[in-house]
Subunit: 107 residues, 2 copies
DNA sequence: GGCCTATTTGTAAGTTTAGCCAAATCTGCA
DNA sequence: TGCAGATTTGGCTAAACTTACAAATAGGCC
């Protein structure tokens, strides 16, 4: 694995690491449904400290997954990558089919 | 966020956590290209300890992303979810378009 | 300017993960 | 059975992540 390849995978890993947390996945889901939300709205939803949500959003932003926009005193976030939900659906479908297949193996 | 929702997001997070590492992303890429590989082949590729690769593969397996099959003394791994690569391409495309858009914002 | 609200950043403690080595399993073969 | 190669598991230390509190920053309003 050369340096360029290494850098490529590190960048990808950053994206996945950003998504690898229940709270941040909830945020992604919510943004995909409602279009955009401010930090305070997301804080109510995740039920944790504002600063924690802010950090989670910063992590998603650094990974390029969400876009922030300040309007007045509030900062609104929205999804930057549209394909996230398709991927969720695909993975979930694969997991369902996997669990459905398991009993067959017992025959 | 109720318990059922919490469980759903924890499960999703496990999948992303499994992918959130350069070595494991390289493994996924390699399996998507070559179809299947044994642990020793992947060890040569990742350039790390066999036990580390074995742990990485176990993590991918627990997340439902790869399938293992023992043939003789060797264990072969292959992808269990087909949509991973589509997702990579989509995310990468989004990141490229994002960086291309940035100069426009400077006008 | 001064105050209030919304958000971000810094810090610190607790938890989790990565990486490597050694030991244990498992398979094929003599 | 006993040996050799392939893979997995357990244990350990260093690094990274999570989380909440406190402090700092930014915008709106008087």
């Amino acid at each position: 694995m050369n340096d360029m390849t290494q850098a490529k995978y590190k960048k990808r890993a950053k994206i996945f690491k950003a998504m690898a947390h229940p709270s941040r996945l909830l945020i992604i889901d919510e943004l995909s449904i409602s279009g955009e939300r401010c930090v305070c709205e997301l804080t109510d939803m995740v039920r944790t400290d504002t600063s924690t949500v802010s950090c989670d959003l910063a992590q998603l932003r650094d990974a390029g997954l969400v876009i922030d926009e300040r309007r007045g005193s509030m900062v609104y976030y929205r999804l930057g990558v549209s394909c996230i939900l398709d991927f969720f659906e695909c993975v979930e479908a694969a997991m369902i089919s996997k669990t459905e297949c398991k009993p067959r193996l017992l025959n």
